[in-house]
């Protein structure tokens, strides 16, 4: 070996050794000492710093994924029914079958004879029991069970009844998860002053997407980032959930869903959905939306059978943006449309504009004004003929109101319409030049004589309480079946908010109240609405597998957001 060859061999050896050390080092570093999954991002990102499009894409993906999960779950339930040996005494119980409704379950079994099933979920006291009897007689059963308590073993009693009246009972022990963090953070302190007067049902809330009972115990909630629009008049008592990015503008997905979390329909709108969805003639839905550079001043009508938007009305073309005493005309949220109610027996609707302190009846979809319930000040001359004239004692205008609700006829007079309004009252003092008074929020029953164009105040609740229940934002009131009023108040002190729910009877006596706040340092909790409803209803059935989800989200929307 020459000297040169020896040098080359030496260099080769050193290079080989260095290379070996380098690559073995890299292999060890990346392959052995790091945990297998370390450094991998979570499958979905938290919501931080996302654009509206990115956030909507995540929600769209969630919907499509949930539809797949639902389909697979129902195939599994079908396989268990067909191949398993489950009886009334020994059913298969699946908790949270669709993965998004943790306080629900289904019991799956066959019976030899056609029977109908009753469910009894015992509450901590009688008014918190959940009971329901399904109407159909069948031999194959997928029984939805609602109203379970969280984090405990629930004894649930099923009763079967044959057509000849023979009954059999079985008790299931159904264990549920503890409340998820965001719900567990909510503290509810309840008091029922008149248990015999309490309107039966659970209290469904808007922002928490949850329902609690008279004692303040959560009995239902839905996982996922939606807005809930709960209305017992939707098809078969299903709920409407909306998924979007900002909600007050841009794309949204509507989901018709039952308490189990089963999706029945999914459809799309480019016009947002911010405050309200209401049933309209022919089963269509009216939605508060936005289009263009202003926000919350559009109403559109959507056909839930086809997902088609069949009408829309831009309220900028109906009401002039000139009232300087309220929201500045240049404010894009100049109207802040926060509610719609359909005037049954007509094609008209009643709308509520918070930022114009206006409740109005207009024709749909052309927007002809019938009347306007609003302090007359600052309205241009052309609107004067629509403004109602107050009559009678104790009348006060509503200011920055929410939730107009058309009450059943009270006086057998076809010329009158009775309206319940949640009068927040923010600008009451300002509009009346009162520097010393107190702000208060009222629940007001107005009666409007549409022929005489007058309005009188039949009843109010809240002025006498002063600022104790003053809600500067949010809030609603609805009549219960028993005639009571059920209201929510989002009350602020300094920079924090808490929520108070109240049921009052016809004599304005308190039936039930619950105070809600959270476990944080400030206790801040925000809530918009509460609705008292039975969680089971006439649409509840034991044949949920018979209905596949109908997905009406346009393929071009899926392509736009790159969802396969």
């Amino acid at each position: 070996m020459t000297k040169q060859e020896a040098k080359a061999a030496w260099i080769r050896g050193v290079l080989a050794l260095l290379t070996l050390i380098l690559f073995v080092g890299l292999a060890v570093l990346f392959g052995l000492f790091l945990p297998a999954d370390q450094g991998r991002e979570a499958p979905t990102s938290p919501k931080s710093a996302l654009t509206d499009d990115e956030e909507f894409r995540i929600k769209l993906k969630f919907v499509m994924n949930q539809l797949t999960i639902q389909s697979e779950t129902e195939k599994s339930i079908r396989a268990e029914l067909d191949n398993g040996d489950y009886s009334f005494d020994q059913p298969l119980v699946v908790v949270n079958p669709y993965g998004i409704s943790p306080l629900t379950a289904v019991a799956i079994f066959h019976t030899e004879l056609p029977v109908r099933i009753s469910v009894h979920v015992p509450g901590k006291c009688q008014i918190t029991d959940v009971d329901f009897t399904f109407s159909e007689f069948a031999t194959e059963h997928v029984v939805p069970i609602y109203g379970l308590y969280a984090g405990k073993v629930n004894p649930v009693v099923l009763t079967s009844q044959t057509k000849d009246g023979t009954r059999q009972k079985t008790t299931l022990e159904i264990e549920t998860e503890s409340l998820k963090n965001s719900i567990a953070q909510i503290i509810l302190i309840a008091d029922t002053a008149q248990p015999e007067q309490y309107q039966p049902g659970l209290n469904f809330t808007y922002e928490a997407r949850a329902a609690f009972d008279a004692n303040g115990d959560f009995r239902w909630y839905l996982n996922g980032d939606y807005r809930s629009f709960l209305n017992d008049e939707y098809a078969q008592g299903h709920f409407m959930m909306v998924l979007g990015s900002s909600y007050d503008e841009g794309s949204v997905i509507f989901l018709e869903i039952d308490p189990l979390g089963k999706i029945y329909k999914a459809f799309y709108s480019p016009y947002a959905c911010h405050h309200d969805i209401q049933p309209y003639s022919g089963g269509n839905l009216l939605v508060t939306g936005s289009e263009g550079e202003t926000t919350e001043d559009l109403i559109y009508e959507i056909n839930p059978e086809t997902g088609e938007i069949v009408n829309k009305l831009d309220l900028k073309t109906i009401f002039a943006r000139v009232r300087k005493g309220l929201t500045a005309p240049e404010n894009p949220d100049w109207l802040h449309l926060n509610a719609i109610d359909w005037v049954r027996g007509s094609s008209d609707i009643v709308i509520s504009s918070r930022n114009q302190s206006l409740v109005a009846r207009i024709s749909w979809p052309d927007g002809a004004i019938r009347w306007m319930l609003s302090d007359h000040r600052d309205w241009p001359e052309m609107y004067q003929k629509y403004l109602l004239t107050p009559v009678g004692e104790g009348f006060e205008w509503p200011y920055n109101q929410h939730a107009p609700y058309i009450l059943p006829d009270q006086d057998n007079n076809p010329d009158t319409i009775d309206l319940l309004v949640y009068d927040n009252g923010n600008q009451r003092l300002e509009m009346n030049g009162d520097d010393t008074g107190e702000l208060y929020t009222r629940l007001v029953h107005y009666q409007i004589d549409e022929k005489l164009m007058t309005v009188s105040q039949i009843r109010q609740y809240g002025k006498e309480l002063g600022d104790a229940l003053y809600a500067s934002s949010r809030g609603n009131v609805e009549p219960a079946e028993n005639g009571d009023l059920i209201a929510s108040y989002c009350i602020s002190s300094g920079e924090t908010y808490w929520v108070e729910y109240r049921e009052i009877d016809a004599n304005s006596q308190l039936v039930w109240q619950t105070v809600a706040f959270n476990k944080s340092r400030t206790g801040e909790l925000l809530e918009y609405r509460v609705k008292r409803m039975q969680i089971y209803n006439d649409g509840s059935n034991t044949s949920i597998l018979d209905n596949d989800a109908i997905n009406m989200i346009p393929s071009e929307v899926l392509m736009q957001y790159e969802i396969n």
């Binding site: 380098l22 690559f23 938290p46 067909d82 020994q90 298969l92 908790v95 264990e175 900002s246 949010r474």
Partner: protein, 172 residues
């Protein structure tokens, strides 16, 4: 010189193979499956976290955005072990997958059960498996254990025991 080049190329190839093999090994940890009665249990990966943090942007009904920071920490001296598993029922059967039967076993033989409430995982973007016993279908997601920090870098196994049988899958 040609020999040097050949040697370099050879070692480059060997090195690339080593890197690919080593990284693939980490990924392959994601595919071990055991069958217990009607159920398949597959291990799909894990993460060790000293804590979990995220910013959230919650849009209120009025359109107002509220930014919040959220975090979740284990007890002092512990870490979160986030295990990604797939539990699938392969045939109709009354048998149930019990979470009480599932544990992480450390190098000293100590067992750790799933945290009683790991619902916080969802706040940080993890698909989480529900904590009630499984009775149906394919269940794919994360569950969380809390283990001593010093054990997190040593060998760990995922163990399952029920009336239908038992299995042990090495996490590493």
């Amino acid at each position: 010189m040609r020999l040097i080049k050949k040697t370099l190329l050879l070692w480059l190839g060997v090195g690339c193979f080593a890197v690919l093999f080593a990284c693939g090994g980490a990924g392959n940890a994601a595919s071990e499956t055991a069958t217990i009665g009607a159920w398949d249990l597959a291990f799909a990966g894990f993460q060790v976290k000293e804590d979990l943090r995220a910013d959230t942007n919650d849009v209120q009904y009025s359109g107002v955005s509220v930014r919040n920071q959220i975090s979740e920490s284990p007890d002092q001296g512990n870490v979160f072990l986030l295990v990604h598993i797939v539990v699938e029922k392969k045939q109709a059967s009354a048998t149930v997958f019990y979470w009480d039967g599932l544990s992480i076993q450390d190098a000293d033989g100590n067992n750790y059960h799933r945290m009683e409430n790991d619902s916080f995982l969802e706040n940080f973007g993890y698909e989480r498996l529900m904590s009630t016993d499984l009775t149906l279908g394919k269940n794919d997601g994360y569950i969380c254990f809390e283990i001593p920090k010093e054990e997190a870098s040593k060998p760990l196994s995922l163990c399952y025991q029920s009336d239908e049988g038992s299995c042990s899958i090495k996490l590493r």
